[in-house]
């Protein structure tokens, strides 16, 4: 765009603006260096590292049991699934046979985590586009899941319920009852999300046709999770590489082909329905049995490389362990979904307004500790 006015001394300039690290729309300490022409975004440069805690390096120091609790603090909204990823990697390396009870409980709690994460995202999404009330409605429903977690695992956010070889302890006797109560409650509240926000004409105008991402771009940027599926890229790890009890349940992979912010929004809303259906299939059929397999007090992985990926609420989380046969990993690498999804931001936000940037960033559902680790 030619920004100078013809035959005039007047001219406009691009300017820089720092969005973050302390900014209400970045959901954490993410700094975006924006190049703006008036209201139009010319360039977005994410600047990372404000909450880097070198978790990967700390993992090289810790034993395999201790690694698990560090992953709580990466993507804190799907902490259980992060724990599960590390435990699955270690169990696969040790070739442990995990009891069915553990697998089913892990899957149920994992899907509850996904719903909790998506309800929080929905609330924050509404807040980013200016509808503040959604925040509290989202939190109301998330609170019930947090109570379930607190009763069974002892913590609401950083649960650390998994250990290599199973679960730390059995589920609380109230777990099944409370989960059923939640599903019944949430089935009446989820349609309300649609009437309040999804159908709203202002919201649709803000979301539709904004933040366009084609399937090819989604694949080449390494997008995963709802971001990739909103562009029609079938990337659900639960479907393609089922882990835990996910091979026993039937569910649909939600795919939208529009590739705009609204498609990503819809994918998450529909995923909540799918997660509820998974929980309903499993909650009545939790098999009896042990919740732990005996492991050595000091776990030593065989020499070699091990990789396991799971589907967190944000996308594909990969855990790569390079072991030299000692009690600590030689190298441990997390392939976090947030990092590659963030790399899209410049691609989808350029050319839009400041408001579009905030709205498309909200649909990427970034959790900054997941990006920085």
């Amino acid at each position: 765009m030619d920004t100078t006015i013809k035959n005039s001394n007047l001219k406009s300039e691009e300017y820089f603006i720092n969005m973050g690290p302390q900014h209400p729309a970045t959901h954490g300490v993410l700094r975006l260096l924006l190049t703006i022409d008036g209201e139009i975004i010319k360039k977005v440069e994410p600047d990372l590292g404000y909450i880097h805690r070198s978790i990967e390096k700390m993992c090289e120091r810790d034993s395999y049991q201790q690694i698990v609790h560090l992953t709580d603090r990466m993507d804190y909204l799907s902490s259980h699934i992060n724990n599960e990823a590390v435990c699955l990697t270690v169990e696969n390396a040790l070739q442990l046979e995990i009891p069915d009870r553990v697998k089913v409980i892990r899957t149920i709690i994992g899907e509850l985590t996904r719903i909790a994460s998506h309800t929080l995202w929905w609330g924050v999404m509404g807040m980013d586009v200016g509808a503040l009330t959604t925040y509290f409605y989202g939190f109301r429903d998330r609170e019930m899941i947090n109570d379930i977690f607190e009763e069974t695992c002892g913590a609401r956010l950083t649960m650390n319920y998994n250990i290599p070889g199973g679960l730390m302890f059995d589920i609380h006797p109230n777990f099944v009852k409370r989960t059923k109560e939640f599903i019944a409650h949430f089935k009446t509240k989820l349609p309300e999300y649609d009437t309040l926000l999804t159908g709203n004409v202002i919201f649709q105008k803000r979301m539709k046709g904004v933040g366009m991402l084609t399937k090819e771009d989604a694949i080449s940027f390494g997008a995963s999770g709802p971001v990739g599926r909103g562009s029609g890229y079938s990337c659900d790890v639960r479907k393609h590489h089922p882990y835990s009890a996910l091979d026993k349940v039937t569910f649909n992979e939600v795919l939208k082909t529009e590739g705009d912010s609204f498609a990503r929004y819809q994918v998450r809303i529909e995923e909540m329905w799918e997660s509820m259906s998974i929980i309903e299939q499993l909650i009545d059929n939790i098999p009896e049995g042990d919740v732990q397999v005996a492991t050595n007090a000091v776990i030593k992985l065989p020499k070699g490389e091990f990789y396991q990926k799971v589907e967190t609420a944000r996308g594909e989380l990969g855990v790569y362990i390079n072991s030299t046969g000692t009690k600590n990993p030689y190298r441990l690498k997390f392939r976090s979904p947030g990092f590659s999804n963030l790399s899209l931001l410049n691609h989808i936000a350029v050319g839009g307004k400041i408001g579009d940037l905030v709205a498309s960033m909200a649909t990427l559902d970034l959790v900054i500790p997941d990006i920085d680790r």
Partner: protein, 354 residues
């Protein structure tokens, strides 16, 4: 009960008992100004409290309930805190304009209050171009916002201020035109006269279809005039942090904040006067007790204020270009059509009168 609410006359008479006529007039003006200032400083504070309470009830919360009974003293405490805070500013700010800006905003909103007929007698300044005066005054406030945003030497503030300029200039058209639609019906711009006309039925009933359309357009444009959600592009906390008042602190910030709420009251009060019969009671049930008009006026105004709060706590925010699309492609053409429709209705005498 016979309470004299014609305050100007009463105070002038009281003062002229012991001083000359000119001094008495000036004294009366100062007294009335002080009364209005005091009433609306307190009213502004309680509007803030009301907003917070209503927001809480929409959002399944309790709202402020710790300071005083039911949290009634919360905003007083907040104001005290703001008074005691240091007034900061950026080093490279244009100091004079930076300090001037809040006064533009608060003075313009307080000035507008003077022309409202709270009852038949209780009106400080019954000017014969009342509606024009209101429209003119309400657009001065934006100068304060522009000055504040520009002078603070902050890019977020500047973006907010420029958005505000664009928005207010556009939506003033709709506010003005929708009020003019009703002026076609009343044939006068004087606010007390407009209320008199409505003794035959409130204007929203007299003017039926075009009046309802005008009311809807007025409420949308009025919400935009006050820079409130869903048109809060000026502050847009998820985009700009705090918008034009990013660099303001203490009482200077409080002026902006208070002005927003008094502006909301003004917009609702104009709508009450023009569409809902001002201080007139429904079906004239309390016609024999004139001073009750205050309660009817305030009651109707607060209903409309509540409506604006309901908007705010339900809708997402528009984007700046959508905001302008709404005005120039929807509200303005509809408004012009509506004026013609109203003219036809008045011409053919199709109004509903009791």
């Amino acid at each position: 009960m016979n309470i004299s609410l014609n305050i100007t006359k009463t105070i002038t008479e009281l003062l002229s008992g012991f001083m000359s006529e000119g001094a008495a007039n000036i004294g009366a003006m100062v007294t009335i100004a002080l009364i209005y200032l005091a009433i609306f400083a307190v009213a502004g504070l309680y509007l803030v409290l009301l907003e917070r309470k209503i927001a809480a009830w929409f959002q399944l919360r309790l709202g402020p309930n710790r300071v005083g009974p039911w949290g009634l003293l919360q905003t007083m405490a907040d104001a005290l805190k703001l008074v005691s805070k240091e007034l900061t500013g950026t080093v490279k700010a244009d100091k004079f304009l930076f300090n001037l800006a809040p006064y533009f905003v608060i003075v313009s909103s307080l000035m507008a209050l003077s022309v409202f007929p709270f009852t038949q007698e209780f009106q400080a300044f019954d000017i014969n171009i009342g509606i024009f005066f209101l429209i003119a005054i309400s657009s001065i406030g934006v100068i304060g916002i522009l000055l504040g945003g520009w002078a603070s030497n902050n890019k977020f503030a500047l973006i907010g201020a420029m958005r505000s300029g664009v928005q207010t200039i556009s939506y003033e058209l709709s506010v003005g035109l929708s009020l003019l639609t009703m002026v076609l019906l009343t044939g006068t711009l004087q606010l007390s006269e407009i209320v008199e006309v409505q003794k035959n039925g409130w204007l929203i009933i007299q003017g039926h279809i075009p009046a309802v359309i005008a009311f809807m357009i007025y409420m949308i444009a009025g919400t935009a005039e006050t820079n409130r959600a869903p048109f809060d592009m000026v502050e847009a906390e998820s985009e700009l942090g705090a918008g034009f008042h990013t660099e303001y602190s203490g009482m200077k910030f409080a002026y902006f904040f208070l002005a927003e709420f008094i502006n909301m009251f003004i917009i609702a009060a104009i709508a009450t006067t023009v569409f809902f019969g001002g201080w007139l009671s429904p079906f004239g049930i309390t016609e024999s007790i004139p001073w009750l008009g205050v309660f009817w006026f305030i009651g109707k105004t607060f209903m409309l204020v509540f409506l604006m709060m309901w908007f705010r706590w339900t809708f997402p925010r528009l984007r700046i270009d959508q905001l302008l699309t709404l005005e120039w492609k929807y509200l303005l053409p509809l408004n012009l059509l509506n004026i013609i429709l109203m003219a036809v209705i008045v011409w053919l005498n199709l109004t509903i009168q009791f």
